[in-house]
Amino acid sequence: MSKYIPIIGLEVHVELKTKSKMFCGCSADYFGKEPNTHTCPVCLGLPGALPIPNKQAIEWCIKIALALGCEINLFSKFDRKNYFYHDLPKGYQISQYDLPFGTKGSIVLSNGKTIGITRVHMEEDTGKLSHHETNGVKTSLVDFNRSGVPLVEIVTEPDFHDAKDVVEYLQMLRSIVRYLDVSNADMEKGDMRLEPNISLSTDPTKLPNYKVEVKNINSFRFVDKAIAYEIKRHEEILERGETPIQETRGWNENKNATFSQRVKEEANDYRYFPEPDIPPIRHTQEAIDELKKTLPELQTEKIARFTKEYSLPAIKAEILTREKSRADEFENAVKLGQEKGISPEQIANMIINRPDDLEIHVNNTIHVEALLQRVELENKREEISEEELKLVIQKVIADNPKAVEDYKSGKESVIMFLVGQCMRAIGRKVDANIVKQSLIKALT
């Protein structure tokens, strides 16, 4: 075992799925849209334009903070983060500095480890640069459709020591924002952007004197790989008796490696100051309490309840609760199935084990009635001995020479006719599948 202990913290940006942007009325649904069609004076940062905060986005940010067990600042405000970049039309990003909506939360992983949540704050997304070469001329273009889309930033304490825990945390976080129905958390579309910061220490009680941030990773798998890559890289440097440089790195998915982007001599000076265009935001404790009451049961709570209430193994409860809608369908089926004497586990099995059954899985939703019928049918099946089945099959083959001939000459659909003849001859509800398999065997 290595003498070094990884110290890892995470910053995650989650894009909210509000109808409009954070500070203007433009549609926030920018993905795949014609560039610069979802813009207005506000999100283009034109002279004289002013921001109007999106109440829905603020409420959703607070919901995320509450779901992560945060304390909510009843007096909060927006701040300007001043820096220059071409995708930032105002020359500053409206963000939150010293009074974020949520602080001091935590999340407990399946292994019992607690991860501290430092803060949950609201900010706006930037535009998007793309670089092209046309006729040998290099050009950079800016698309401001994304400019001003609401972003929630969730920062953890450096409490992770293992990439696997990081991935589990990310899965939990994604599940939370989906359960809250505040973000699609679609990685492909950049709805979640992940930034682990990594360092190695020989003393778990002390933070190392350096930290490497890997920016803008868009998949859990890449986070896992980037952390592994960095741990190895730091180890090698430390083994040489040197200290890794404090810097920001990027992830190159083709090379499976991180690369240096910007060396931080010291912290960036963003010259934060209170955003004068937006008055401070005050909430009452009562309003926050009310909001808290609207939080749905989250996945971890559901897993606990499902294992207890429905005596399901944890793994099955986990699968059933990955999507809130699936969990709801399951519970609905359990309720309806109860009257028919169908057990929750039978329903769970039917959902989990038959993902390809198109009668049950219709357009990514569960057809509850079809599911229950299927279970009922299977419950009612009667046994048939091999001997009896063999006799029936022999008789049906003898009685239907034309059909048998057709089947043998390649007309496979005829088999179902023959199965039907067998079922009639048996006169009881037996498993048609078994009959079919035996028939095929007898015919070949």
Binding site: P41, P47, L50, I52, F84, H86, P89, G91, D277
Partner: protein, 470 residues
């Protein structure tokens, strides 16, 4: 041709309704005046002759159809910091020399809806940085009462246009005195409304927590009409609270009997020009003779106001000007004038890590004390009256090499911006042919009270009728 020299919005409206003249005739008169005097006074950066005549024709049509709203057909000018759709909006800076606005801001929209005629865009200290008008990248504006003197700034072109009959009224902005000081230098009425009373949406920001959107008129009554058309909460500006808009003309003739007028002792100090002092005291005595009670009040933190102002204001300026990059606007940032550069550097410095607590944070704390000062004073009095400027208008070039003395000319006006209260500048006479104004300060959203106090004086002392000889 009619003699329009002593027209006010009020009288022009009556005559328009009576068809004594049309809005097109009135508009042509002002366009003529602009052509005649602008070379000398440099009040306008852009003259929108074509648009103005189209608007006037529309107004005449409405008047013909019996419409009679308070600003219908009235030719106005806008400080060239109001974004106007399809019309150049330069902020008097080379950086925006060829910038054409993409949209109309809230006030411009409201004015257009009210049926005004926009004559053009007036000169200013670039980005509204200055107290004399000399920081314009397109040359200084001259005081119409004596062209060797400054008209005051930063809204330099608007009061000049009103005084020189190049517009019947004009809009400005006031971040530290930029309406009240030039109003007093040009013998016109100028209101800095309560912060948030008039929407800032579509006005190029100087210092966002201080910027107030106000107007210049010949009379107090006109000013009330102008504010009426522009005031109110705006869903596009989060800093406009939903405070009801009163009828600003209602109390105009209520007089001042029984009113308590505060005289802040910190404003009558050494450095105040004795002649300005004399005229201000004369005005105060007149109020007393009308049954108002003069009460000495104290605003103990006044001496810190300028320092606080130059920290908060420059901090916000440095951030607000960050967007004007070469990529978006075509010029390198070196094209910014000296004053803008000075403020960007000061503001960047006071917000920097390690200095924030000593400067910006401290300034915000003192700002809280200044707010308390004013709150305490208004528990004792209804309004306060001070000189608008410590000095008379100065000669062009006199202070351009000494930014600090220029900054100090705002000493009586910045307080209201830091606190957010309204201030009205009203003419109180002349010294050596140069206009002098007083400043009436009132509690938040009490513009109607300021108009009441200002109108009482003006009715007895119609200095506005002393037109400049050009």
């Amino acid at each position: 041709m009619n003699n329009f020299t002593n027209l006010t919005i009020k009288t022009a409206r009556e005559k328009l309704d009576k068809k004594e003249f049309s809005s097109v005739e009135l508009t042509k008169y002002y366009l003529e005046q602009i052509k005649k005097h602008n070379d000398r006074l440099n009040a306008f950066i852009t003259i929108t002759e074509h648009e103005a005549l189209t608007m006037a024709e529309k107004a005449d049509e409405k008047i013909h159809n019996g419409e009679s709203t308070p600003l219908l057909g009235i030719p106005l000018a806008l400080k060239d910091i109001y974004v106007t759709k399809g019309i150049k909006t330069t902020a008097a800076s080379k950086v925006l020399e060829n910038y054409v606005g993409h949209y109309d801001g809230t006030v411009v929209k409201k004015l257009k809806d009210a049926g005004v005629v926009i004559l053009g865009k007036t000169n200013l200290d670039a980005w509204a940085h200055g107290s004399s008008g000399e920081n314009s990248d397109f040359g200084p504006t001259k005081n119409p009462y004596n062209t060797d003197y400054v008209p005051g700034g930063s809204s330099s072109g608007s009061p000049t246009a009103v005084a020189a009959d190049m517009a019947l009224a004009a809009s400005g902005t006031d971040t530290g005195g930029s309406i009240r000081l030039p109003a007093s230098f040009c013998n016109v009425v100028g209101l800095k409304p309560t912060y948030g009373r008039v929407s800032r949406y579509g006005v190029i920001a100087m210092a966002s927590s201080l910027d107030s959107i106000g107007h210049f008129t010949k009379t107090v009554e006109d000013n009330a009409l102008y504010l009426q058309a522009s005031a109110g909460g705006d869903p596009m500006d989060a800093t406009t609270p939903p405070v009801a808009v009163p009828d600003y003309s209602e109390k105009l003739d209520h007089g001042v009997k029984g009113l308590k007028i505060g005289v802040p002792k910190e404003y009558f100090i050494e450095g105040l020009d004795p002649k300005v002092r004399e005229l201000t005291e004369k005005a105060l005595s007149w109020y007393q003779s009308q049954g108002a009670k003069l009460v000495e009040v104290s605003l103990p933190h006044t001496k810190y106001a300028i320092e606080v102002y130059y920290i908060i204001q420059t901090a916000e300026v440095s951030s607000n000007l960050a967007r004007y990059t070469g990529v978006r606007y075509g010029d390198e940032r070196s094209v910014f004038g000296d004053e803008a550069k000075r403020r960007i550097m000061l503001g960047t410095y006071v917000l920097s890590a390690g200095y924030y607590d000593a400067f910006y944070k401290k300034a915000m704390q003192v700002r809280t004390l200044l707010i308390k000062d004013v709150k305490d004073a208004f528990e004792k009095v209804d309004v306060m009256i001070t000189p608008a400027s410590p000095t008379l208008p100065w000669k062009l070039g006199e202070k351009t090499t000494d930014p600090l003395s220029m900054y100090l000319s705002d000493i009586f006006t910045v307080h209201a911006n830091l606190v957010g209260i309204p201030g009205l500048s009203v003419p109180i006479g002349f010294v050596d042919g140069l206009p002098v104004g007083m400043q009436i300060l009132g509690p938040h959203f009490k513009e109607d009270l300021l108009y009441q106090v200002g109108n009482a004086f003006e009715k007895e002392h119609p200095f506005w009728m002393e037109r400049p000889v050009l």
